[in-house]
């Protein structure tokens, strides 16, 4: 089975995350093993509980939740990049439960595990 990992560096209020989600879901449906998604730079904003997007606009978080629950998709968060943007797992936990608090070591791990690591 082919193994894919994805590095997400674009924020949930950029329309680019629609493409990242579409790409990942298409891969999952194509029977490709997603070893994990790593969120870095503005990509970490996806994990914020405090983001509210108007109900008639694209809700990236709902799709991450769906993919996480349907496919057991690991979602790793660079905690330093997150804390820099006001997202923290300490007091007033502001991280959606589907995300795993990680470090860049996890990015190394995903890169070595995957046949392809794609930045989106």
């Amino acid at each position: 089975m082919k193994k894919l990992a994805v590095l997400v560096t674009t924020s949930p209020y950029s329309n680019l995350s629609v493409t990242a989600l579409d790409y990942i879901e298409t891969a999952l449906k194509s029977n490709i093993e997603l070893v994990g998604v790593f969120f870095y730079q503005d990509g970490v904003m996806h994990a914020s509980k405090n983001i509210q997007i108007a109900s008639d606009e694209f809700q990236a978080i709902q799709h991450w939740q769906r993919l996480h629950h349907t496919y057991n998709l690991p979602l790793h968060l660079c905690i330093t990049a997150a804390e820099k943007r006001g997202i923290s797992d300490e007091h007033n936990d502001s991280i959606h439960a589907i995300f795993t608090v990680s470090g860049l070591g996890e990015l190394v791990e995903l890169t070595t595990k995957a046949d392809r690591m794609v930045q989106l």
Binding site: T10, Y23, T26, V118
Partner: protein, 109 residues
């Protein structure tokens, strides 16, 4: 050994696409997604196609036999016409397949 180049930005706005063209190798694949679709209107793409057709290595393109593709849905949404004689329409499933058919991926964003 080939590279899949995913081009996400308009060359009217950034140099990403121009930089991509600098590192092309023979038989590489370029896929335009998101605002990269606008590059179908950019002279860099016309130049590239001319060079590929003439099999010349003038301008900054020395590679030959580059395949140009665009995600149809992304181009259609932007009312970008696709000249299928030179650029092939693909779907997201094709992009996923291309990820593994080529040896590596560079995202130009």
């Amino acid at each position: 050994m080939t590279t899949l180049h995913i081009v996400r930005q308009s060359a009217f706005n950034t140099n990403d696409y121009a930089q991509c063209l600098q590192v092309l190798g023979d038989n590489d694949v370029i896929v335009f997604i998101d605002d990269g679709c606008y590059n179908l209107h950019h002279h860099l793409t016309n130049n590239l196609i001319d060079n590929l057709n003439n099999n010349l290595s003038k301008s900054n393109v020395s590679a030959i036999n580059i395949k140009l593709k665009v995600i149809a849905q992304h181009a259609n949404a932007r009312a970008i016409k696709i000249n299928e004689a030179v650029v092939s329409k693909i779907e997201m499933t094709d992009l996923v397949s291309l990820t593994f058919e080529n040896d590596r991926v560079i995202t130009w964003q």
